[in-house]
């Protein structure tokens, strides 16, 4: 590997309004390497990515491509200088054919002038032939030459991903940035992808930068990894170093209940300490199932997000559904709540098959969802938000009683009854979202990421609230990215990995299970 840096970031900073999305990130991508940029949700990876590709102009710092400043250049110029990239959510020219998609990217290197196009000159025709030849060659590398005349939108998901890479290569780039290339791929496909990334690097003499959530892929294919959290660098180095870095573990797995902010060994020992003080340990478990999910499948277009998930939640239990970003947790929850169509499978709630039940009818059946991102009504007061949650309840006595219960559960809400929902802090909004879900008097409360983006103090209060809700007899299904927290609160847990249940069982046992860590950070093969 040469010592020269292909891309070098110095103190790159990006501020949106008052929000500091990236605060002084520096790293160098060695020429010819495969470089990983990782971090949990909201770490600022995509913002850094967009600064490099010219979508954003960084508010501070410099970005260099082989020593030449590229920050602040428009995206098409950056592309012209040799930084090609793919998109996280696939952006093909869907009405154009597969071949045309690739040919668009050849336009920059085309020698044909406007007049050549208008008049179909011999020069234009020769250039067109050359371009087509190159495009076909690239397509053949990805086994897409058979479908070159199909509309690109008609391709399968995996083929669309590959076509996007082929299109990027048509730019004859020096650096290839891939944004979550393995998203939505199954393990076989992502295995093939790893090989392809290596082969591309060698064949096209590329430097590859990878932003990826699939840790199996990242740890396996990257030679150097830069880890970000909350807009800042937390680790940098080869995969083995990064994988066991305490700050990285903390960023991905969350901190334990222990509020000690000390880093170093703390992150690891947390796991053991936690096991000694489990809050819900000796609770009697009823074996009567309230929610049974069998072989549930959910797909977005061609992408299968949930691939046959089965789980059971018994009456009175608190069950956690955990897993890395993109594992399918939220999709599973939404599918149970009938907010997403099922591709296959069955959901039985309180003895009834839900396949024909409309989402709004679920509320009166006793199912309530507190969605990810809270989704409170920002222009209604706290009180009005709570009233909306009781939309299906006719009994005004019951409504009053439940509002009192909410206040008892989250005293903060009592202080803010007349305040507009949108003016609450993130943690307070989360409390409101939970309280609102409880207003319908549900048998099953489903919580989606109640601790996401919330200050630690408030997270404590929220988790205390959740524990009390369960003690009051409401069954809870909890989706949570803070694994340690979730396993601390739950009796049983299911661990999702790329849309499948990889592990399940007693939450206490899972706390010690090294495989849970593997599900998040991937197993090292080095």
């Amino acid at each position: 590997m040469s010592a020269r840096a292909a891309i070098e970031l110095h103190n790159v900073e990006m501020v949106f309004g008052g929000l500091r999305a990236v605060g002084g990130v520096s790293f160098a991508v060695p020429e010819g390497s495969i470089f990983g940029l990782i971090g949990p949700n909201g770490a600022g990876k995509t913002t850094v990515f967009n600064c490099i590709t010219g979508v954003y102009t960084p508010t501070g710092g410099t970005i260099e491509l082989f020593g030449n400043r590229v920050d602040g250049m428009p995206a098409f110029e950056v592309a012209g200088l040799g930084i090609a990239h793919t998109f996280q959510n696939i952006r093909l020219f869907s009405e154009l054919t597969v071949l045309e998609n690739v040919l668009v990217a050849g336009h920059l290197r085309s020698k044909a002038r406007l007049w050549d196009s208008f008049l179909r000159t011999t020069r234009g025709a020769a250039d067109e032939r050359e371009q087509r030849e190159k495009a076909r060659h690239l397509l053949s590398l990805f086994a897409l030459d058979d479908v070159q005349d199909e509309r690109s939108a008609s391709l399968s998901y995996g083929d669309q991903r590959r076509l996007e890479i082929a299109r990027a290569l048509m730019l004859s780039p020096k650096v290839l940035l891939l944004d979550e290339p393995a998203a939505g791929m199954n393990s076989t496909e992502s295995h093939v992808l790893k090989e392809q990334i290596r082969r591309l690097r060698d064949e096209f003499k590329l430097t590859v930068v990878l932003v990826e959530h699939n840790m199996q892929v990242v740890m396996n294919v990257c030679e150097h990894i830069h880890v970000m959290d909350r807009g800042e660098t937390i680790a940098d180095g080869p995969p083995e170093t990064v994988q066991n870095h305490p700050k990285v573990l903390e960023a991905y797995l969350g901190k334990g209940e222990d509020n000690d902010t000390d880093s170093a060994r703390q992150g690891v020992s947390d796991v053991r300490e936690l096991s000694d003080k489990s809050p819900a340990e000796n609770q009697a478990k009823s074996e009567e199932p309230l929610l049974v999910v069998e072989g549930l499948e959910v797909a977005y277009g061609g992408i299968k997000a949930v691939k046959g998930v089965s789980l059971t939640v018994n009456k009175g239990e608190l069950v956690a559904l955990i897993g890395a970003n993109g594992a399918g947790k939220t999709s599973t929850l939404k599918a149970i709540a009938r907010l997403l169509p099922w591709r296959a499978g069955r959901v039985i709630f309180d003895g009834r098959d839900l396949s024909t039940v409309a989402p709004h009818a679920l509320v009166s059946m006793g199912m309530a969802l507190s969605p990810e991102g809270r989704a409170i009504f920002p222009n209604l007061t706290v009180r009005e938000n709570l009233d909306m949650g009781a939309y299906t309840v006719r009994d005004s006595q019951a409504i009053r009683r439940r509002i009192e219960q909410s206040v008892a559960l989250f005293p903060r809400l009592g202080e803010r009854m007349k305040q507009l929902g949108g003016t609450l802090s993130g943690g307070e909004q989360q409390m409101l979202a939970i309280a609102r879900a409880l207003m319908s008097g549900p048998k099953l409360l489903m919580l989606d990421e109640p601790s996401l983006g919330i200050a630690p103090v408030l997270v404590d209060q929220i988790f205390e609230g959740i524990e009390r809700i369960r003690q009051d007899g409401t069954t809870v299904l909890l989706v949570e990215q803070n694994t340690r927290r979730a396993l601390g609160a739950a009796q049983r847990a299911y661990v999702l990995v790329t849309g499948e249940v990889a592990l399940s069982g007693d939450a206490k046992a899972l706390r010690h299970d090294e495989r849970v860590k593997g599900a998040y950070l991937g197993e090292s093969v080095h």
């Binding site: 590709t53 010219g54 979508v55 428009p74 995206a75 098409f76 592309a79 012209g80 090609a84 990239h85 998109f87 952006r91 093909l92 020219f93 869907s94 009405e95 154009l96 045309e100 040919l103 668009v104 990217a105 050849g106 336009h107 920059l108 085309s110 044909a112 406007l114 050549d116 196009s117 208008f118 008049l119 179909r120 011999t122 234009g124 250039d127 067109e128 371009q131 299109r167 990027a168 048509m170 730019l171």
Partner: protein
């Protein structure tokens, strides 16, 4: 090269052939309809470059048409006598027309750049409003400029624009417009335009200077519309007189209907749409006569409300189109005999 020459020779032969055949076989009214429909085709194909291929939204193309028509008419009016004094009589009419048309193309092209520049920042509805405003500004400016006739139209008095644009010229113009847009659309530049339509961010990411290409699309489209305007002003079968009333918003809407009917993004679709709207409008004009003429209540109603009837028929045909074939007649595809026959075969087997 040889093939290209053969194409050009064929096109010329066709223009002249049609001219003579039409003169010998058809009456003046039918020739007029052919000319109007051909002009429509030019308008539809040019507008399609912006609205169909590049995915921008202009409803101000009547403005470009007006600029082309006025600029060319003023030019030919000013230069007609001078050119006839120096150029041999046989060529003089043609040379005057070509020079006038070039003036129209140039003026409309400049207007196209002027409108194209704001389009860099605007999308969708906002761009539509800007172009609409542009069209109206052009029309109102003409109305309030007495030197070019104001609302009376141009030219004033008992003179008229020389009717040099015989059917052959109009056909030739249409073929030129179709050939140029076809070549552009199906080239590497045209793919860049289509990429903007499909996904602007992705287009930037693969190196397309979206700003430059949007202005290019506007400028080329405006120039071609300007050419149509020049031929419209000099149309031998027309009134040889232009007035601002011909360049109202409904003219732009007519153009829009043509390309929506044919399928946005399809050149052959735009050709079919142009012919369809031309014939439809003519039939609507003739509706009272087709119903037997006379002075019945229905006929009188139709005659008195010609404008409204037209709108109703438009609305109905568009609603039907959206219900039956929302992507337009051809979608973004081009009409091809091969594909048609291929599909037949597939269906048969």
């Amino acid at each position: 090269m040889l093939r290209k020459l053969a194409w050009i020779a064929g096109a010329l032969a066709l223009c002249i052939g049609v001219q003579f055949a039409a003169g010998a076989l058809l009456n003046a009214y039918l020739i007029r309809i052919i000319a109007v429909c051909t002009l429509n085709v030019m308008l539809a194909v040019s507008l399609n470059l912006v609205n169909g291929t590049t995915g921008q939204f202009s409803i101000g193309h009547a403005g470009f048409l007006a600029v082309g028509a006025y600029a060319s008419a003023i030019t030919s009016f000013a230069l007609d006598a001078k050119i006839h004094a120096v150029v041999p009589a046989f060529f003089a009419d043609g040379v005057t027309l070509v020079i006038a048309a070039l003036a129209g193309v140039l003026a409309a092209g400049i207007a196209g750049v002027l409108v194209g520049v704001p389009s860099l920042r605007l999308r969708g509805d906002y761009l539509a409003i800007v172009t609409l405003g542009f069209g109206e500004i052009i029309r109102i400016s003409i109305e309030s400029t007495p030197a070019i006739g104001g609302s009376q139209g141009y030219p004033l008095g008992y003179t008229s624009i020389p009717g040099y644009a015989k059917l052959a010229w109009i056909l030739g113009g249409a073929m030129l417009v179709v050939a140029l847009t076809w070549n552009l659309t199906y080239s590497s530049h045209g793919r860049a335009l289509a990429a903007i339509r499909e996904d602007e961010i992705a287009a930037e990411a693969v190196g397309v200077d979206t700003t430059r290409y949007k202005v290019l699309a506007f400028a080329v489209s405006a120039m071609l519309t300007g050419l149509a305007g020049a031929l419209y002003a000099h149309d031998a079968t027309g009134g040889q007189h232009i007035d601002p009333g011909a360049f109202r918003l409904d003219r732009s809407v007519d153009m829009l209907v043509m390309i929506i009917f044919g399928g946005l993004g399809s050149i052959t679709g735009a050709v079919i749409g142009g012919l369809f709207v031309g014939i439809l409008l003519e039939l609507l004009k003739e509706l009272p006569n087709l119903l037997g003429g006379g002075d019945g209540a229905l006929v009188r109603m139709l005659r008195d409300n010609a404008g409204n009837v037209r709108l109703i028929v438009y609305a109905l045909s568009l609603v039907l189109l959206m219900l039956l074939r929302p992507q337009g007649l051809l979608g973004t595809r081009e009409f091809s005999l091969k594909a048609l026959l291929g599909r037949r075969k597939k269906a048969a087997s």
